[in-house]
């Protein structure tokens, strides 16, 4: 029995036991359901083994929505706990676990997955490619992400959640101050999903550089593809830093090394530096694809071309470069003196310049346009003022002397939610609504979508604007409680109310998917939005080979060009199409990674060794495998095209 003691949750509560039961019941229900409907074979053939970028993208987005739910529940619990002074809904330890997992789940497993899912679905279509450069690797990326996400999520029912904050500063995260296995979970969940992200980065850079349709020069790429390219370059350069930091953290916790210890020459500040050398570029990994989506949506629904294409590209390149030069602003208060702080203060503020250029370019895109207020456009219009507020408070935080007062307060919390929610989450919802018909062939209901938007925006303002004030009034972040005399009570209650509205928005958005699935007409045609870029030149939903004939383009708005100027996108004849084969190796390998991570968390070395052998076995299998893919014949293509209504 002693062996099993380690799996017990160190700080159990009725809530956690209830979640255990709920998780177990859900799992049983899912398994029974799939077995009853005899869907195991379908699931394996069509989803678990798929290498199709569209399906992988869908799986990313479904996972992201699940994680949004998990992270959202964490968020609501935090707001509920702090809604009134001296509340006793959560105790300190649970509150610490909840805000730690909220941060990680939202950043790594929700936002990243949403973005990568969006890139998976859209980028190959926008550049007229059949798939990504390495479809098999793409499946591995997804399954590694998924294994990492699941590993992170079992922590709270087996062994305990991490409790040192998402920034996980040492020595607090060391074994002296965080004895449960929670932080081990943090290390391995991030490590495994980070590996997947790095592979995605490589995959998409090659895809975008090497698989563009004939005629599509770099400066004729749609803006979302540009943002994806730059994002993936940042991923490739930022994630290895995290890999090493996590490796050192693991060694410190599980092998007694002294990297970040305060004894034997270790340096706790090294973790903070490495974490933010990765962490700050990570912020731009999140926001740049969002900028890409807004560029597409605003141009489409203003029915005009994007203003200042070149400066849009230039500003993104500049942002990506500068994102590596500002990490110190996350700890101005560490005492490096005014010179270092001054330099990083200036580099940080300088990022506001390219960002400002983008805001003005979007405004000028609307100029002389013909603006339609669809759901994606509403999100984009809401984004501009809200993100500007978030951006300018960022500039305020960048002033080092003032940051000594904002640092670690609710002001900071308000700021980064103010950029991430209107920046990233709005963009993802805009993109989801915009490209939904592309993937599923039917539209999401506009009315429910608009209700969702209003609830989300108003809820957001009510939830986060009060935090600017409580921050300036001295409320530190991550406090599980506060006394009545502080006077933080009323504004925190308002925040909780706003969080409730955001929860309603989430329910509306999910309900919209269900409602539209049941009621939306299926004949959306090829061009439901009067769109401009190349992905709309093929059918809705997209056939597995994307384009029956490789398109030839000569404009960044290829589809618009073909509609208005009569450009012939498809001059060539049908030819047989080469497609990659499905493979079960990625999902099996990710299974081994999960076992590896789980065993490592609990220092069960036999499991670690066996899982490592499994992982290497999968790699060895892959190198000896002789897989040349398959061909779709011209007859099959003609058949499919006829089914979609008319050959192209």
């Amino acid at each position: 029995m002693e062996f099993f003691d380690r799996f017990a949750v160190p700080h159990p509560s009725p809530l956690i036991y209830a979640s255990m039961v709920a998780i177990a019941l859900t799992l049983i229900a899912v398994v029974i359901g799939i077995t009853y409907f005899k869907k195991w074979g379908y699931l394996w053939r069509e989803w678990l083994t798929t290498v199709d970028h569209k399906r992988i993208g869908m799986m990313y987005i479904i996972s992201a929505l699940l994680m949004l739910f998990r992270g959202g529940v964490d968020g609501i619990m935090m707001r509920l706990q702090t809604a009134v002074p001296e509340n006793s809904f959560l105790d300190a330890q649970h509150y610490n676990e909840v805000f730690t997992t909220h941060g990680i789940v939202m950043i790594i497993f929700m936002a990243m997955a949403f973005i990568i899912g969006m890139m998976n679905i859209v980028v190959p279509l926008q550049i007229g490619a059949r798939d990504v450069a390495f479809p098999r690797l793409n499946a591995i990326s997804f399954w590694l992400y998924f294994a990492g996400a699941m590993l992170f999520n079992v922590s709270f029912v087996i062994g305990g959640s991490p409790d040192a904050g998402w920034t996980n500063y040492f020595p607090l995260a060391g074994t002296d101050f965080s004895q449960s296995v929670g932080v081990n979970y943090y290390m391995w969940a991030l490590q495994i999903s980070g590996l997947g992200t790095l592979m995605t980065g490589i995959n998409f850079i090659v895809t975008i550089l090497k698989m563009r349709a004939p005629g599509m020069t770099l400066m004729k790429m749609p803006m979302f593809t540009w943002s994806a390219l730059i994002t993936n370059v940042i991923i490739v350069f930022a994630f290895p830093v995290l890999t090493i930091a996590l490796l050192m953290g693991t060694l410190d916790r599980q092998f007694g090394t002294h990297f970040f210890a305060s004894t034997n020459g270790g340096m706790d500040m090294l973790w903070a530096n490495l974490f933010w050398v990765w962490g700050h570029p990570e912020v731009y990994i999140l926001i740049l694809p969002a900028f890409g989506i807004y560029s597409e949506v605003i141009a489409t629904f203003s029915q005009r071309n994007l203003y200042g294409y070149k400066s849009m590209v230039g500003s993104m390149v500049l942002i990506s470069f500068m994102s590596f030069l500002v990490w110190v602003h996350h700890f101005f208060t560490m005492g490096h003196g005014p010179l270092v702080n001054g330099i990083f203060s200036i580099t940080t503020m300088a990022i506001a310049v390219p960002t400002g250029i983008k805001i003005f370019n979007w405004l000028l895109t609307m100029w002389k346009g013909k603006i339609r207020f669809t759901v994606p456009m509403l999100y984009s219009i809401g984004f501009i003022p809200l993100f500007t507020i978030g951006g300018v408070t960022g500039v305020m935080l960048a002033i080092a002397s003032a940051d000594y007062q904002y640092h670690n307060t609710m002001f900071l919390v308000a700021h980064f939610h103010n950029v991430i929610i209107p920046g990233v989450v709005f963009a993802m919802l805009a993109g989801l609504t915009y490209w939904w018909p592309k993937v599923f062939g039917f539209m999401l209901n506009e009315r429910i979508g608009k209700w969702g938007f209003w609830f989300l925006s108003i809820g957001f303002c009510l939830a986060f604007f009060p935090m600017y004030i409580t921050g300036l009034d001295g409320q530190a972040r991550r406090m599980y409680t506060y006394s009545e005399e502080t006077g933080f009570g009323p504004l925190n209650l308002l925040s909780f109310f706003g969080a409730g509205l955001m929860a309603i928005a989430f329910i509306l958005i999910v309900f919209n998917i269900y409602y539209s699935f049941r009621n939306s007409p299926r004949n959306v045609g090829q061009d439901p939005w009067n769109a401009r870029s190349l992905e709309w030149a093929t059918h809705n939903p997209v056939p597995e080979y994307n384009f029956a004939v490789t398109p030839v383009v000569n404009s960044s708005e290829a589809f618009w060009d073909s509609k208005k100027n009569g450009h012939n996108l498809f001059p060539d004849k049908f030819e047989k199409i080469h497609m990659p084969n499905n493979s079960g190796v990625p999902v099996i390998m990710a299974g081994f990674f999960f076992i590896f991570g789980f065993s490592f968390v609990f220092s069960i070395w036999i499991g670690v060794i066996l899982a490592a052998l499994g992982i290497f076995g999968c790699m060895a299998y892959r190198t000896f495998e002789n897989d040349h893919g398959r061909y779709i014949s011209v007859e099959e293509i003609k058949e499919t095209e006829k089914k979609y209504g008319g050959a192209k």
């Binding site: 034997n264 560490m334 002389k368 003032a402 670690n408």
Partner: protein, 299 residues
């Protein structure tokens, strides 16, 4: 519509800001350092408010003027590439604002990191502030006393806090007197501040440090010079001396009320500065003599 709402909520926010029943701590400074930061914050709020208002006005103009329902059926929006003049303007304005704020930032950062103007000639009062889970230990080496979870300082005299930590990174913060600075285990960081008004000020650790973090607070009381001296004398006549054994007991994780001792823990547990700094050498410093340390630093 959306914008009106966003704008109204922003306006409400600003008014609460300006006309709140009690002034916000950070914007209610009681010493020159906090006053500098409060001024910088006001400058930046005003500058940034101008930007927000400009952007929102432009946006309202665009979506009002160019909404589809207002245009004719057959209106075809023109194709417009970038315009060099416009793009120069949208680059130049942010650049000018950033230059302005950079100057403010660098200048004020130097100001708050040094002894405030007008106090340079006075000898600062040195107080060591060490955090342990979840307490603050204040040592006055000159006065040879130590307090727990509260600190008395004289007004109109520069005070130099030397910060370090027995445990996780913490952040020393008295919002009405000065901004934060981290306290860490292997080095000493410094805050210079002056209190100009007598009174009790809220102080806390602002950096998350585990279970007892929320209650990791202290009170900073500013007294006139005479009262401060009187307080010192009083302690020397009433308080017990701090022993090493007792200090180690105090370090154990938990919460304790306010306590007062004569003598400081610095005598038997020196702060991690000078030859005791943690970067190059181990933590065995307590057992070793100073000469051995000098040996080490010759490597």
């Amino acid at each position: 519509m959306k914008l009106k709402l966003a704008f109204i909520s922003f306006a409400i926010l600003l008014t609460t800001f300006l006309a709140g029943c009690e002034p916000l701590l950070v914007l209610d400074p009681k010493g020159p350092q906090a006053e500098t930061t409060a001024n910088v914050i006001w400058i930046s709020i005003i500058t940034m408010a101008v930007i927000v208002i400009v952007v929102i006005s432009l946006l309202i103009f665009m979506i009002y003027k160019y909404r589809a329902s207002k245009q004719g059926e057959d209106y075809e929006p023109p194709h417009i590439e970038g315009n060099p003049l416009v793009e120069t303007i949208i680059v130049a304005i942010p650049v000018l604002i950033v230059i302005f704020l950079s100057i403010v930032s660098v200048k004020s950062t130097y100001e708050v990191e040094t002894v405030p103007e007008g106090y340079e000639n006075q000898e600062p009062l040195v107080i060591y502030a060490a955090s342990s889970n979840w307490k603050w230990h204040f040592s006055y080496p000159e006065q040879d006393i130590e307090t727990l979870n509260y600190v008395f300082i004289p007004t109109n005299r520069p005070v130099e806090f030397r910060l370090y930590s027995y445990g996780p990174i913490t952040s020393f913060w008295i919002p009405q007197l000065a901004g934060q600075k981290y306290a860490m285990a292997d080095m000493v960081t410094k805050i210079n501040l002056v209190a100009e008004t007598p009174g009790d000020y809220v102080g806390r650790n602002a950096n998350f440090s585990g279970e007892g973090f929320a209650e990791n607070t202290f009170t900073a009381t500013a007294l006139s010079n005479e009262e401060f001296d009187k307080w010192i004398d009083e302690i020397h006549s009433t308080a017990e001396p701090l022993t090493e054994e007792q200090f180690n007991k105090l370090l154990k994780p938990g919460h304790l009320g306010q306590m007062t001792f004569t003598g400081t823990h610095l005598d038997f547990a020196p702060a991690p500065e000078g030859e005791h700094a943690g970067h190059h050498h181990g933590d065995e410093s307590e057992d070793e003599t100073n000469t051995e340390h000098e040996d080490h630093s010759n490597h």
